[in-house]
């Protein structure tokens, strides 16, 4: 609850643009590898290629939300603002990846399963996860006071992350107790290399995006801090 005395600092850009270029190139390379080398699937034909974005996006969603959990816990322990800004950045990137996972899953599901949506355990729990983190971002948008926003969103982020396995378990029971269908999830070895390559490429892109959003969040905070300092009649942030 202490008022900020020193201006928050903007992290140095350093070599991050190079990392961004590397992430983009590795994504292009991994996609090319997937498109060129893997044969058409027996049942799905070239529709299978959507896996190289859909599955890495799903995995990285969980990575991003894990970052939210860790950063939120660290914020509550240390009360250092950078952890809060990191959690917010990771939540934004995670929500985008989560939405991408859902959209691509629907595009994939329509030709293979014949429906845009099915109440399968994974689909449903991914959707619930998306809703939980949409709520997290909405909370951040609706609370203006900085300390409040940071503490509240840390609490919401932690509780949301705790709930992920419980949601998955409950939805899975709901489906299996009804005995309808299970999800096909075995991957033929010829696709594994491309899938791994794309998973790493999307991981790099995720890290880069989180970093960029973090820098942007820090810059926005400094601007906010200077406005406050100016309004209070103090010196500017330098």
């Amino acid at each position: 609850m202490t008022a900020p005395t020193a201006a928050p600092s903007i992290p140095a850009t350093g070599r991050w643009p190079w990392f961004g270029a590397f992430a983009l190139l590795s994504l292009i390379g991994a996609q090319a590898l997937g498109l060129l080398t893997s044969p058409a699937d027996r049942d799905m034909g070239h529709l299978q290629k959507i896996m190289y974005v859909h599955v890495p996006a799903a995995w990285m969603t969980f990575v991003a939300f894990f970052v939210v959990l860790v950063a939120s816990l660290r914020y509550l322990m240390t009360r250092e603002e950078r952890h809060d800004l990191l959690a917010a950045s990771a939540a934004e990137v995670g929500a985008v990846l989560n939405g991408l996972t859902l959209a691509l899953g629907m595009i994939w599901g329509r030709p293979t399963w014949g429906v845009w949506w099915t109440w399968d355990a994974r689909l449903t729990s991914t959707l619930v996860l998306f809703l939980i983190f949409v709520g997290y971002l909405a909370l951040r948008g609706f609370v203006d006071e900085r300390d409040r926003r940071a503490q509240w969103s840390a609490a919401v982020g932690i509780l949301g992350a705790i709930n992920v396995p419980i949601v998955y378990m409950s939805v899975k029971w709901w489906r299996t107790l009804h005995q309808l269908q299970s999800s096909p999830s075995t991957v033929d070895p010829v696709y594994v290399l491309s899938l791994r390559a794309n998973a790493f490429a999307v991981l790099f892109v995720t890290i880069y995006f989180i970093r960029r959003r973090y820098e942007a969040a820090c810059i926005a905070r400094v601007a906010e801090w200077r406005r406050e300092a100016f309004a209070l009649g103090g010196t500017s942030g330098q």
Partner: protein, 226 residues
Amino acid sequence: MTSGWPQALAIAAKDLRIERRSKAGFNSVVALGITILVLFGFALGPDAAALRDAAPGALWLAILFAAVLAFNRSYQVELDAGALDALLLYPAPRWTIYAGKLLANLAFVGLLIAIVVPVGIVLFQVTIPPRWPLLLLVVALGAFGIVTLGTFYAAMASRSRAREVLLPLLLFPMLIPVILASMEASKALLTADLMRAAGAWIRLLVGFDLVFLVATFLAFDHVIEG
């Protein structure tokens, strides 16, 4: 967390006294719960068998929608005339505020359920099963989960802009396991429960309630002081 329960009980008693003196709040929440049941009846009825099948889902959603109003109310009374600031000066640990609000909301929602559920049983032509004590347990566990998270999230949502939309937006996705488990357990107990599903769902409810009771108590200090 040693002593502090007398203070928590005092806060709960204060909240319930406010509710008792202005009966309008409770009465309108109950009326809303019954209205939602009637609307579900229009959406799903009038075929008696279809109504009976849908009864657990309709009842739990009616309870959820009505209870959400109670949660925001329980902090709204503190926002007038800076009552919350005075409450924070109270010589007691912060968790007593949460415990007090939780107890008051449990009483409020318990009373709400005691009225709305019998009405639902009549409207949806539900026959009381022989294992009704287990059904009461499911109702208690489900309500406890809803009230725990509802009380916690309302502490934030009621003090933000757009609290009307923010509380359900935060709360409903988090409550999906509770609602799902409560509905499925109720459905299993109302029918013959051939798949023996009720036990698993009851265990899930117990687990959810315990996990989030502990988590919200730990996190509340961070939420109230901001």
